[in-house]
């Protein structure tokens, strides 16, 4: 019974796999970087959330791992046109990290170790849509894929899932990030094929 049951679920899940327009499936996990891979010792790693008033919350690595985590299985869609199905992560939901943060800001600018940034509406970070991911495929997240920890926002193009996440700044006015300031779409919904400004 259990084999039949697993097979049935597997077919059902495959049937749900759809590629957004203009995408193709890959089974690899391409590494795309706009700069050198930072080395962040775990005893120096920290994540900060800073609000529009300047107030901040900070978590060390140990504090992050002590928070309740989730294990989302999600599809990834890169703006360079590859998609990867059923990737398995472990991380802390942004709902947990932001639950005690006093803010009425609508926008976030996410900063990485290094100089990468990307902008995301706050509502796209909440309600189970985003995580600070620290494990991938059952292992510690490797540096080339954003370890020690990266943002994971799988419903948007993957450039929004900032590797090596360091700080989330909440603000009233949207401020565009590294790729958004040179032509990429401010929001980046793969299902509406929002690759570039004007799409």
């Amino acid at each position: 019974m259990s084999v039949v049951s697993r097979g049935f679920r597997g077919r059902a899940r495959d049937a749900l796999h759809q590629l957004p327009p203009g995408q193709y499936e890959t089974t690899g996990f391409p590494v795309l970087s706009a700069g050198p891979t930072p080395t962040v010792p775990l005893d120096e790693w920290e994540l900060t959330v800073r609000t529009e008033t300047g107030a901040g919350r900070r978590w060390t690595w140990e504090q992050l791992l002590a928070l309740p985590s989730e294990t989302p299985t999600v599809d990834l869609h890169c703006v360079t046109k590859w998609s990867k199905f059923d990737t398995e992560w472990q991380g802390v939901s942004l709902d947990v990290l932001l639950q005690d943060v006093e803010s009425s800001a609508d926008y976030a600018l996410v900063h990485s170790y290094g100089d990468y940034t990307t902008n995301i509406p706050v509502e796209d970070l909440l309600d189970g849509k985003a995580w600070i991911a620290h494990r991938y495929d059952g292992e510690a997240l490797p540096p080339e894929h954003g370890g020690p920890a990266r943002l994971l926002v799988p419903h948007l193009y993957f450039w929004k899932s900032a590797k090596w996440v360091r700080e989330i700044v909440l603000m009233h006015e949207e401020e565009r990030g590294f790729w958004e300031t040179v032509g990429y779409h401010t929001y980046g919904d793969p299902w509406r094929e929002q690759r570039y400004q004007g799409d």
């Binding site: 590494v31 795309l32 970087s33 706009a34 700069g35 050198p36 891979t37 703006v79 360079t80 100089d115 080339e144 450039w159 590294f178 790729w179 300031t181 040179v182 032509g183 990429y184 690759r195 570039y196 400004q197 004007g198």
Partner: protein, 90 residues
Amino acid sequence: MTPTPDFLDGNAAAGDLESLFGTDMTMASGQCHGCGKQMMLAETHAYLGGPGTVLRCPGCDGVLLRMVRSPHDMWLDASGLDHLRLPAPA
């Protein structure tokens, strides 16, 4: 084991640069806004294959230039360079 560098030298961006500037830019020289280093663009560190082309300073790793090509536009931010100097056309 030596880690594999994740960049190429600036010559790897020659095609992208020429498509934008209309001339071979690898012998153009520039100065990093961050650290002041003078260099040929061929000496920069090029990150390719992602959403766009990024050239970084071999001295401080700061961003010198970002280029993106969309179906309709080419985008350039060269604010990481204090100046660019190109050989005059013959």
